[in-house]
């Protein structure tokens, strides 16, 4: 904490909230919750409470212990120490079933829906039926429609879940909790997969639910959203509660500072792009998705040396297929992709790499590293077959270790040793490892999908800096990200993908978030 004065108000809650709390027992009171995992103290004596009628945000970086605390509340984890009281009554929550009985509802970050079942079946799942062993779907459907109408949650009850959009699925999750009479509603990163407009709708619903007397817990690491929605904000860092602020007492700066524990300047604005030769040129690129659908439908784009082009869009609009086709790991349907004027579309990945592409994939655990390989082995995945790292098919251990040691230091990868399995690193360090590997080959074109998804602010800032460095060194950088703030702050040009097409472009210096958000939702200004 830089300013000692800032500390003093942290532990105090807003006086208005305080008086409110005095007259009513909080809906939920979690006291001194401690949860240990092997080698990790995920929650360290955390206090947290929720009053009826408020939205209480749990704010912190990934790994700060927010989800763990709520999993304890929902009976998915047993706390090692601490107490939970609901409506002033001490309770033990040993399973999700017990949590549901206590009126706790949870909207998980990854939706807990069965894709092959209908909306009603998902909601009825696990409930007692009025018809004994037989399902009473018609009765459930009727009540679901009533609930949906009274809360402004539009869903079609008979649709199969896989047919629904992400926003609709979330509404089903909320209805599922409401149907179970949830009085305390926990939302784990509910905005992560939504378009800006869907976020607005969600917030409207959440405010209404709180106004009706429920207590809401809003888990997020996005400071703007936390400030927009919450009445109170509790900040967690490294498993500890840093403090609880009322919204009036909180500011963007104070929250971020509490979250990361030191002052970080998020400013990474750079000089305008220099412009240069056309490094990557896509024309009419068409790619099919896993289910055979046309995922990418004729995308044209050019990335010049010394610029960052950002592709914005809600995930699932063809971005993954686009990246994989460029990288040579997904067969394209048609079109062309030139790197330095050389056709690489449909070529195997090693040929695309030889042409100058470096690729940081979106699924880093699946496509970016071999989790059980050591840090050194992962760093050498691409180059191990080339001199000076191997000779006549034999690996040259000393050269490799020296090289890896250098990379680890250069990219600040925090690892106990070069021999540690990569799976043991944090998400941010895994991403740094991948960046180190990909950049060590001095690429002509750098393609990065979801550069900082799910990693902490410190590592994210670092990665952003490296990306801008690459740009300034003359690399053509193409970023695909569903994090609008990231795209806005890094890119020199923004393209928005929707349903497989580039439906619009934006200049980050002149466009507003809202304008790009509308494009992400498929709304093209006429």
């Amino acid at each position: 904490m830089t300013d000692p004065g800032a500390l003093s108000h942290l532990e105090e809650t807003d006086p208005r909230t305080l008086s409110h709390l005095e007259e009513a027992v909080p809906l939920l009171q979690m006291s001194a919750i401690t949860k240990r995992f092997p080698g990790v103290l995920a929650n360290d004596g955390v206090d947290f409470d929720v009053a009826a009628g408020e939205v209480h945000a749990l704010f912190g970086e990934n790994g700060a212990g927010k989800s763990t605390l709520m999993r304890v509340l929902y009976g998915l984890y047993r706390p090692d120490e601490g107490k939970i009281a609901i409506n002033g009554k001490a309770t033990e929550i040993s399973s999700p079933a017990a949590a549901i009985r206590q009126g706790i509802g949870m909207i998980h970050q990854h939706f807990m829906l069965v894709n092959t079942l209908t909306v009603v079946e998902n909601i009825a799942l696990g409930l007692k039926s009025s018809r004994g062993p037989l399902t009473d779907l018609r009765r459930v459907a009727k009540r679901v429609r009533e609930l949906a109408d009274s809360h402004g949650l539009k869903v079609s009850t008979d649709a199969l879940v896989w047919q629904l959009s992400v926003g609709e699925r979330q509404r089903v999750e909320i209805l599922k909790a409401l149907y179970r009479d949830a009085n305390i509603l926990v939302l784990d990163e509910p905005t992560a997969v939504l378009t800006p407009n869907e976020v607005d709708d969600l917030f409207r619903v959440l405010r209404q639910l709180a106004a009706a007397g429920r207590g809401l817990v809003f888990i997020s690491h996005k400071v703007n959203e936390v400030l927009e929605l919450s009445d109170r904000i509790t900040v967690l860092r490294a498993g500890r509660r840093v403090g609880t602020l009322s919204r009036e007492a909180a500011s963007r700066e104070s929250l971020v500072e509490m979250m990361v524990g030191h002052d970080i300047s998020a400013e990474i604005r750079q000089a305008p792009a220099a412009g240069g030769d056309k490094r990557l040129v896509l024309a009419g690129l068409t790619v099919r998705g896993d289910r055979g659908q046309e995922a990418v439908r004729g995308v044209d784009l050019t990335v010049e040396s010394g610029e960052i082009v950002g592709i914005a869009g809600v995930s699932g609009n063809g971005q993954r297929e686009l990246a994989e086709a460029i990288a040579g790991i997904r067969a394209p349907e048609g079109g062309s992709a030139l790197i330095d004027g050389k056709e690489v579309l449909g070529a195997p990945p090693d040929r695309v790499r030889a042409a100058g592409l470096a690729y940081v994939p979106e699924e880093r655990m699946r496509d970016g590293i071999v989790p059980d390989f050591s840090v050194a082995e992962n760093l050498m995945l691409v180059e191990s077959g080339r001199p000076p790292f191997s000779h006549l098919g034999f690996l040259r251990a000393r050269t490799i270790r020296r090289h890896c040691q250098k990379l680890v230091e250069e990219f600040a990868v925090k690892t106990p040793s070069l021999d540690t399995p990569a799976r043991n690193l944090s998400g941010g360090n895994i991403q740094k490892l991948i960046m180190a590997r990909e950049l060590s080959g001095r690429p002509r074109v750098l393609l990065v999908a979801q550069p900082t998804r799910g990693i902490d602010v410190g590592a994210a800032t670092y990665i952003h800096k490296r990306l801008v460095e690459q740009r300034d060194a003359g690399t053509a950088v193409l970023i695909i990200s569903e994090d609008l703030d990231e795209v806005m702050s890094l890119s020199d040009r923004i393209l928005v993908m929707f349903e497989g097409r580039v439906i619009g472009t934006a200049d980050p210096r002149t466009s507003t978030r809202e304008a790009v958000g509308l494009l992400m939702a498929g709304v093209v200004p006429s």
């Binding site: 989800s67 017990a98 807990m112 696990g126 399902t135």
Partner: protein
């Protein structure tokens, strides 16, 4: 060939096909329940062998076929406890543990047979029961309505299982456990309990399959099933995890066997080619499987043990 297309041969061939398909149907219906909940059981054939022996031995000692069938089903249930413990509680790799159960059943059934019986003596078989009125329908009656009680039971279980899967809260839980066990877990369903129950049902059905097969043949021998249990697992895929589809596959398979048997006895297939012809049902199944099965998706977590994680 002309001999085949006579009334008597055709009706008896179809009747035999229906009877033959019943053991496949029992085993495959049971396997369907397990697979819909996410558990694949490759030990079916071994369980069928043990149950067939139990059925045979009980019939031999007591002469009572009801006890014999109950013994077969009971052995299936006991093997269900073993299978569920290994697959659900211990979360073992299901492909490997299933082969283990199969080899156990194959070996133990033969060992018990040699030690306890030695010389194969025939037992009395189930006698066909005619369904009043229906069995008098020309052709149809002879084909479908003069079967044994076990055959009727097997086909009766098709609508029962369809109903349970689609119309009951239990069925909903089974489907959820096989598609997204975390979702089931978070609404308070014990995935382990659901899977235990479907495995117990499935193995009991495998036991009934063994009993049905034994009582059709009337005698026990080493490897009596000749891998019927594995065919039953394939038929679940063939039937796209739906009882009705599984029934279609079982009947098709029974028909293929019955036709081959009939052609052999009529001399349509020469003796020299009879071994080759015996592979026809398997070939037909594999080909059909290739053609139809790709259109349907299997339960999303088939064969994967459930672990509450993050």
């Amino acid at each position: 060939m002309a001999h085949f297309f006579t009334y008597a041969v055709l009706t008896s061939t179809v009747a035999a096909a229906i009877a033959l398909s019943s053991s496949f149907l029992f085993a495959a219906l049971g396997e369907t329940m397990g697979q819909r909940s996410g558990v694949i059981n490759l030990g079916v054939d071994g369980i069928m062998l043990l149950s067939a022996f139990a059925t045979y031995f009980t019939a031999l000692k007591t002469g009572d076929l009801l006890y014999a069938v109950l013994a077969g089903a009971g052995v299936g249930l006991v093997m269900g406890f073993v299978t569920a413990f290994i697959s659900v509680t211990l979360k073992a790799e299901q492909g490997i543990s299933g082969i283990g159960v199969y080899l156990f059943g194959l070996g133990l059934s033969d060992l018990l047979f040699l030690r306890l019986v030695g010389t194969p003596l025939p037992i009395s078989q189930l006698s066909p029961i005619g369904i009043p009125l229906l069995d008098r329908i020309p052709a149809v009656g002879a084909m479908f309505f003069r079967q044994t009680i076990l055959v009727y039971l097997a086909f009766l279980l098709v609508p029962v299982f369809t109903f349970v899967l689609n119309r009951t809260t239990y069925g909903l839980k089974i489907r959820a456990a096989g598609e997204n066990p975390s979702a089931a877990d978070t609404v308070g369903i014990s995935v382990a309990r659901i899977r235990w129950s479907t495995v117990l049902i499935g193995c009991t059905m495998a036991g009934l399959a063994g009993a049905a097969l034994l009582l059709y043949d009337g005698i026990f021998m080493e490897n009596l099933t000749q891998s019927e249990g594995f065919i039953a697992v394939a038929l679940v895929y063939f039937g796209a995890w739906r009882p009705l589809g599984v029934m279609g596959g079982s009947v098709l398979y029974g028909l293929a066997i019955a036709v081959v048997l009939s052609w052999k006895s009529l001399g349509i297939i020469p003796l020299s080619a009879s071994d080759l012809a015996a592979t026809a049902p398997a070939v037909i199944t594999v080909l059909t499987l290739l053609l139809v099965a790709r259109r349907f998706r299997q339960p999303a977590v088939l064969g994967k043990p459930y672990e509450r994680g993050d």
